[in-house]
Structures are given as structure tokens and as C-alpha cells.
């Protein structure tokens, strides 16, 4: 089996184990963050592929869908859920900003490595900093949405 398939399997396994660590009393927050992320990634992911900015040569459901089902449907929504569940609300602004930068940078670094060494993703008209900015925007939008969803009116 190709290395790419092993990576996809590990991504599913890792994402699922992250879900297992989410405390029971934060499950509803995690669900809202997970689903809200999907609403964004499904659409934007398709637009980006349609415009030919990115390609995912090795992917699931390859014959019907040319975006990364694994990343957009499962892995990134799980990460976004984790981001919201463990968000440092009670800390200062600097720590909150650092939390954002840390998440975004780690995700971008992983993507850049995967792009360079595997056929899971290929940048066509794309740069690492576009990934960095778009992930940051997605996390921010979902975070604001979650705050609104659970806010008292």
C-alpha cells in the first residue's frame, strides 16, 4: 500500500483519538464547532479546487470528488473542535493570540511537509502563507460563531 494511504488512515485514527479526549461536558461545544467548520470547508475547499489553486492527487472518493474528504470533512473540523474546547478564555490577550498563532502555525507546517513529501496535496497557485491566513480566518469565524451560539441573549 502506498504511503499516502497509511497517512490518511493515521489522520483518521489521530482525529478520532482527539475526539475521545474531549470532556463530556464540552461535547456540545465540540459538535457545534465541528459542524460549523464543515459548512465553511466543504464550500471553500471545492471553490479552491475548481479554480485550480490546489490539487489532491491521492484522495478518498476520488471518482466523484476532487477535494480532500479526509481533511475537509473530518480532520480539520476535529482540530477546530479541539481549538474551541481548550480555548484559554480566562487568560490574557497575549496568550489567546499565541494560542491562535500556535494552532495555525502547526497546522500550516504539517500541510507544507505533506505537500513536499507526498501526493496527498499539491500546491498549484498556492503558497504556505495563504494556508496560514485561511486557516486563521476559519478558526476565527468558527470561534465567533460558537461564542454566539452559546451566548445568553
Amino acid at each position: 500500500m502506498r504511503m499516502e494511504w497509511w497517512i490518511l488512515i493515521s489522520v483518521f485514527a489521530i482525529a478520532t483519538s482527539i475526539l475521545a479526549f474531549i470532556p463530556k461536558n464540552k461535547m456540545r461545544l465540540a459538535v457545534v464547532a465541528f459542524l460549523a467548520t464543515q459548512v465553511i470547508t466543504l464550500l471553500i475547499g471545492l471553490v479552491v479546487v475548481e479554480l485550480g489553486l490546489l490539487a489532491y492527487p491521492v484522495r478518498l472518493f476520488a471518482s466523484v470528488n476532487r477535494t480532500s474528504f479526509t481533511y475537509e470533512y473530518y480532520a480539520f473540523p476535529v482540530v477546530c473542535a479541539a481549538f474551541n474546547v481548550w480555548y484559554p478564555h480566562n487568560q490574557g490577550k497575549t496568550i489567546q493570540l499565541g494560542y491562535y498563532v500556535g494552532f495555525v502555525s502547526i497546522l500550516t507546517a504539517i500541510e507544507v511537509i505533506i505537500e513536499k513529501y507526498t501526493d496527498l496535496i499539491e500546491y498549484i497557485h498556492w503558497e504556505w502563507y495563504i494556508t496560514w491566513v485561511t486557516i486563521g480566518i476559519a478558526l476565527f469565524v468558527v470561534h465567533q460563531f460558537c461564542k454566539w451560539f452559546f451566548a445568553k441573549e
Binding site: 457545534v32 479546487v49 472518493f61 461564542k147 451560539f149 452559546f150
Partner: protein, 165 residues
């Protein structure tokens, strides 16, 4: 412009207007949750359905990126389900609940069949009209169970305000 393109435009516009119009302000969170759950489910189920040629979408948005019917999966059905869920019979006997479900599913299936027959937006492959009826029942039922579970023993989603504090 093709008839199908007008339908796309109409679906996006009417979908958003329909959501705002038919979901009362106080139920907006419930409506959005129903919308998101249905979207996640139909996206997952349509992947194998399209892969194994149960149905296809000859005319679609973003045709190079996906073979799936994006407009139908992303806005059309999720908004319909959301309206269905918010206005469902919470009280009342089993019979009236069943009738509500049955009428909705049948109306939605009929709409789907009209779309299939008179436009190129959808094309049934191995799927028959009663297969579609079953498929839509399945999607509505599972989504409803998930939504019920999410809102279980919480009078309102705001009850968990502490969650983000």
C-alpha cells in the same frame, strides 16, 4: 442562461429567504443546528451514492471540483429539513407525528422527482422513486434523531453558556 442556472440562483436566494422567513427568531439556533447536521449527513451519504451511480448530477455548480449536487446538498435539502425540524410536532400522539413526517417526506420526494424529470440537475441511476423516498426518509430520520439528542434535556442551547466562558 440555462433553465438549470436560473434554478441554482433561485435555490440560493429562496433558500436564504426561506430560512429567515420560516424559522422564528427564537428558534434560530435550533434551525442552524438542524441545517448543519443535515448537511453533514447528506454530504457523507451522497459520496457513496454518487460513487456507485445511484444517482448523478449532470448540471451542477463547481463541476470540475465535484460530481455531487452542491446546491441541492448544501442549501436546498438542509433548509427544507431545518424548516421541517423547527415546526415538527413535539407534543401530540404518535399518529400525528407520523403523518407530519410522512407528508413532508412524500412532498420532498415529489419535488425531487420533478427536478429529476424536468431538469438536468439530477439523474436517477439505479435509484427508483421509492428508493428516493426511502433515502430521504433515512436522511430526515437520522438527522432528527441527532438533533433531538443534541437538544435533549436542555431547554435552550444557551443553557450551556459556561461552555465558552
Amino acid at each position: 442562461m440555462l433553465l438549470e442556472h436560473w434554478i441554482f440562483l433561485a435555490t440560493w436566494v429562496l433558500g436564504i429567504i426561506g430560512f429567515l422567513l420560516f424559522i422564528p427568531r427564537k428558534d434560530r439556533r435550533v434551525g442552524i443546528m438542524a441545517f448543519m447536521i443535515f448537511q453533514a449527513l447528506i454530504w457523507l451519504c451522497d459520496m457513496p451514492a454518487f460513487k456507485f451511480n445511484l444517482l448523478s448530477a449532470p448540471v451542477r455548480i463547481l463541476p470540475k471540483a465535484t460530481n455531487l449536487a452542491l446546491t441541492i446538498n448544501y442549501i436546498f435539502y438542509p433548509v427544507l429539513f431545518s424548516i421541517y425540524y423547527v415546526h415538527r410536532r413535539v407534543k401530540g400522539n404518535l399518529w400525528s407525528k407520523f403523518l407530519y413526517f410522512f407528508v413532508w417526506i412524500s412532498a420532498v420526494t415529489l419535488l425531487d422527482m420533478v427536478i429529476e424529470r424536468y431538469t438536468d440537475l439530477l439523474e436517477y441511476g439505479f435509484l427508483t422513486w421509492y428508493g428516493m423516498w426511502g433515502y430521504i426518509s433515512f436522511l430526515f430520520y437520522v438527522s432528527q434523531v441527532c438533533c433531538n439528542r443534541f437538544f435533549k434535556d436542555k431547554s435552550s442551547p444557551q443553557a450551556e453558556r459556561w461552555a465558552t466562558e
